[in-house]
Assembly symmetry: C2
Homo-oligomer: 437 residues x 2
């Protein structure tokens, strides 16, 4: 017997109870903030038709997807929450009110080769605002407002929201006559933090940029300062390209509004080197970094796109959104020692009857604690008192209430702190909630 | 273009935003109550090794399961949350504290032929208490305590928790010398509510029960009354079979404790005709019915089992648990017209700037509403005022705050009820939370 492998599959995160509580706490904060900003929660099937999921996808996605037949049906597990959103909005178009703001927090699946910090099943926490035909640029500023609110609550230290605009990048490429090789140039720009200045120049030379192009590009990327400074510096480049100038106007309006949203300049920056892929985004783009943990990379990214669901509907649906890759984030914060698992159990108070003779009183006590709004547990298994305290300790219980013969008779209960060992006698159980809640 | 099927697959529930909010509200109540009773939330992968999931499963399960290959791996989607719990407890045995109380609310997958009210992807909401070597009968009473707490909060009207004990049934079968055909007899007993008395007798005769056996069985099943009456009547049968008498003792102790747990006798009954399958349960068993909707059948079922994970570990792990099939329950309540979708949107208050010139003030207003703890949304899309009110109406917004030039200047805001049309002028935004929260 028991030759059966009982481990979760490689690439699938499985947590112990105390880790799960911390994971859920973070997930709950994200969910609460999303909804506070008016994003309505959606839930779509994990399984979709392969033809639907793969309508737009190419190479890598097709290779990674979990795809299988059931009867005659060609099915796949969703690999993100955006494609299901596109299908949902196309399908339920006439029942939705636009701008449509939705949040979706759930698991997605990618059969990548498992490696440290890469998961095959992972949570994405997405919000998107979808417009019909048009969507105000104001929403591009609301999204970082949500990011700011979440990471302020999460307490992972100082963070920086990086903002850029794809039109600015596209405009610069057009201006430098690099449109044909935009993809290659952006790929090199993307590496700027990881390679030296000389290596950077060498790579650009390799794809045949001339000295003047390289200088202009270095000038452009090198622009630093607060948002007002950066906008001014961009205008001072005197680039006449129209796309570029629309992009700069958008960037100015969005960053001005971000300040109105209450985001201090300490917490955001215009970073002209972020690009976020090539196909999808068309305007504002975002990345978010935890200042104390730069190696983690962006913990929350997204941007503005022209059309959500062109594969599914003729309706034009521009949108803007972000995603937090929670499973990867949690893994990396845990590795970095930031996850503390302060709370080891759902209930901080444990009521322990001395023997089964005190079950009646103990049940009454735990009931009144719960009625007062505090989660409490009761140990209903008979075991030695030593074992009971060991149980409470192992579970991370903060306060125990032992009900013996005396307590059952008198109604005077003793609340004992598992941390300090301090005992306090109390006459009514309601007081417990003040001491131990 | 757009030949692509954008519907969710048949058998997969997909809800509109207002339905989803109600679904989530119910799910949240279940989750909160589970945790209030000290059940710690777990999360296990949706995908498992086929050999693990199917270690115990047979016929029907194997046919229904979503099973597929990815590379060399033979994988399956979980078809319940109990088998993953067994694997989890076996795998993490030394890290867990017993009795181990866990809750798990998530989707499971069964490729049944789709029919009305049957789903291929559905939520199960499970709790289990797992002991190591032994588990006190006290926990058999805590479980209905949780059921009582949940359905009292859910407000689906009066409900009845039905309790029985498999040992009582087994003992009666042994006593009537029907052990060999227990399965057949229980299957007929299971139909007792759906067929007439004569049909019932005819079916028992068909499997060769004699008159005396049938009379005894009818006598036994016919026992009615409050729990004290039923226990007394069972003892009065004077059955000497040991299993039977252990079962009656357990039933007495569990129902006595259930009363201590605060469950009024109006809300539970010993029902000797419930059997809950044949292989798994070994002691106390539960079903729960909504009195006003008998056709829905049991909405919450479970029971006591001897060994959770015999396929995965040599440790003996007795347990007791229940499951609520939330997707099916929601569907049926919706069909019965009980689901009201009172709340159509996450935020009851919508701030609407007259034009983009009032964006600044509007953002400040919505920020201060949120800071006061009330979820509020802001309409950032420019459109005519008529369209803005239509938007608020369609979304089910209860209160709107229109910010025009006058309001932005004076700071005196008007809160308008979308239901009554009543307007009230207020000078500080904090007052809104009292009026509209």
């Amino acid at each position: 017997m028991s030759e059966i492998n009982t481990r979760a599959l490689p690439g699938f995160m499985e947590l112990l109870p105390e880790e799960q509580l911390e994971f859920n706490r973070i997930k709950q904060i994200i969910s609460t903030e999303y909804q506070k900003f008016g994003f309505t929660p959606l839930d779509t099937p994990v399984i979709e038709r392969s033809e639907t999921l793969l309508a737009k996808a190419g190479g890598e996605t097709e290779k990674q997807i979990y795809r299988f037949k059931k009867g005659d049906n060609d099915l796949s597990l969703r690999f993100d929450l955006t494609v299901p959103l596109a299908r949902y909005v196309a399908q339920h178009f006439s029942d939705l009110t636009f701008p449509f703001k939705r949040c979706h927090i759930d698991k997605v699946y990618r059969g990548e080769s498992p490696q440290k910090g890469r998961f095959r099943e992972f949570y994405q926490c997405d919000i998107d605002v979808i417009g019909h035909n048009e969507l105000s640029l104001n929403y591009d500023a609301e999204i970082p407002g949500v990011i700011y609110s979440i990471f302020s609550k999460l307490n992972f230290g100082k963070f920086t929201i990086k903002v850029n605009n794809r039109k600015v990048l596209t405009g610069v490429m057009e201006h430098l006559e690099l449109s044909d090789i935009t993809a290659d140039v952006l790929r090199i720009i993307d590496k700027i933090d990881k390679i030296s200045r000389d290596e950077f120049i060498a790579e650009l030379e390799k794809i045949n940029l001339n000295k003047s192009q390289i200088d202009s590009l270095m000038n452009f990327i090198g622009i630093r300062g607060n948002s007002v400074d950066v906008i001014k510096a961009l205008r001072d480049l005197n680039i006449t390209n129209q796309t570029f100038n629309i992009g700069v106007d958008e960037l100015e309006k969005v960053t001005d509004l971000m300040k109105l949203m209450g985001i201090s300049e300490d917490y955001f920056v215009i970073d002209l080197s972020i690009a976020r892929g090539l196909d999808y985004y068309t305007g504002t783009i975002y990345e978010t970094n935890l200042d104390e943990y730069p190696k983690i990379g962006s913990v929350c990214s997204g941007g503005r796109y022209d059309d959500l669901a062109s594969f599914y509907t003729k309706e034009k649906l521009p949108g803007v959104g972000i995603s937090i890759g929670l499973t990867r984030l949690f893994y990396q914060l845990n590795e970095a020692g930031i996850i503390t698992n302060n709370q080891k159990t759902v209930a901080n108070i444990l009521v322990m009857p001395l023997t089964d003779s005190q079950i009646k009183t103990s049940i009454e006590v735990v009931k009144s604690i719960r009625e007062s709004g505090v989660d409490a547990d009761i140990l209903l298994q008979e075991m030695s008192m030593k074992k009971k305290f060991k149980y409470a300790d192992k579970k991370g219980i903060k306060y125990v209430v032992v009900i013996g013969e005396e307590e059952a008779k008198s109604g005077i209960l003793t609340v004992q702190s598992m941390i300090t060992g301090d005992k306090s006698k109390i006459a009514t159980i309601i007081i417990i909630t003040n001491q131990g809640g």
